[in-house]
Subunit: 198 residues, 2 copies
């Protein structure tokens, strides 16, 4: 094991502190662009711009299918590595101009299926909307693609859950995956929808 | 939206109850093998054996790379769909006979890199062991492969974290992914190791 020197411990404390800040999902912190180098036999944090920043709650779902929260400009370099053909966007709000420019520059097609968020205790996940989104998702001509809403938890989780059911996943495993992203905010209504979609 | 009938609500309550039981990670519950059919205009839960049960904490890491907790016989059908060439096994305990038979039947090669678990507050993740595991992981001739330990959280999370660093992921995103699986039990030592591996 490496011996931890005083400076490394201080850096670790910085990293942990940054990590806690990062949990507020503000990915504009400079730490993401820094890297650790050895200088004078000590590890120091220096500037660097060659690190990739995946969007919030990013994950791979299957070959050619990804999921995440809303991508920001800091995430564009990372998204380029995915060589996306399409984006499935599940919010009703218009797509931001900056993101549209990124899509145009990279010849990425936008498929928008607006689903309202934040209507507790029940969220009406419209059946027709999800069916149309599934059609786009299942068409390999649209791959690679990324599914995203705002935080990549509930609306995205619901579409991915329907995809898993088509993959014949045991319902409990569908829920497990859903909750890994939705955590304590797992919505019964989303689960009811997937159940109803049987 | 579908109208929820009394029987559906009862079934949903069964599902939710099962889900809570399932969080104890006992995947031998019969619910995994049941499916919902329409009988007499009502949805009922019937027997069915064509559902797939991913292992505990299963996820895709990258093309040809998966991660999970320890696979059990109930998971073998699912694992067959992945067409695995290799398994990277990170526990020191001998591989169970049943699992070895599954590997032999499916011509899957086992790569074992034993790392002791559960040594709090610090876990010595041996550097050489992780390096050797990484070599196997990075060699595409071994893909598709699955990385697993016991619960697919810490040892697996550490190896995946090192992989992400090689992919130039921002350190915060590496931690975010690690914590999605390790949840409240995220170990500072695992994070220190990844930091030290820089």
């Amino acid at each position: 094991m490496f011996d931890m020197q005083v400076s490394e411990i201080q850096q670790l404390q910085l990293e942990v502190k940054h990590q806690k800040q990062h949990n507020n999902h503000n990915q504009d912190t400079p730490m993401c662009q820094k890297k650790i180098q050895i200088q004078d036999e000590k590890k120091v944090i220096v500037e660097g711009d060659d690190f990739l920043v995946p969007p919030l709650n990013f994950a791979m779902v299957d070959n050619g299918i990804f999921r995440s929260g809303f991508p920001k400009p800091d995430n564009f370099s990372f998204l380029q590595t995915l060589r996306l053909r399409s984006i499935i966007y599940l919010c009703p709000e218009p797509y931001p101009e900056t993101n549209l420019e990124f899509l145009n520059s990279n010849k990425i097609k936008l498929y928008q299926f607006g689903i309202e968020g934040h209507k507790e205790p029940f969220v009406n996940i419209p059946e027709d909307t999800i069916r149309e989104a599934l059609k786009v998702l299942l068409d390999v001509r649209n791959h690679p693609l990324i599914i995203h809403c705002k935080r990549g938890k509930h609306r995205t989780g619901c579409l991915v859950g329907c995809y898993r059911k088509l993959q014949k996943w045991c319902l409990s495993s569908v829920f497990d995956e859903y909750q890994r992203f939705a955590a304590a905010k797992a919505r019964v209504s989303d689960q009811r929808f997937c159940l109803a979609l049987e």
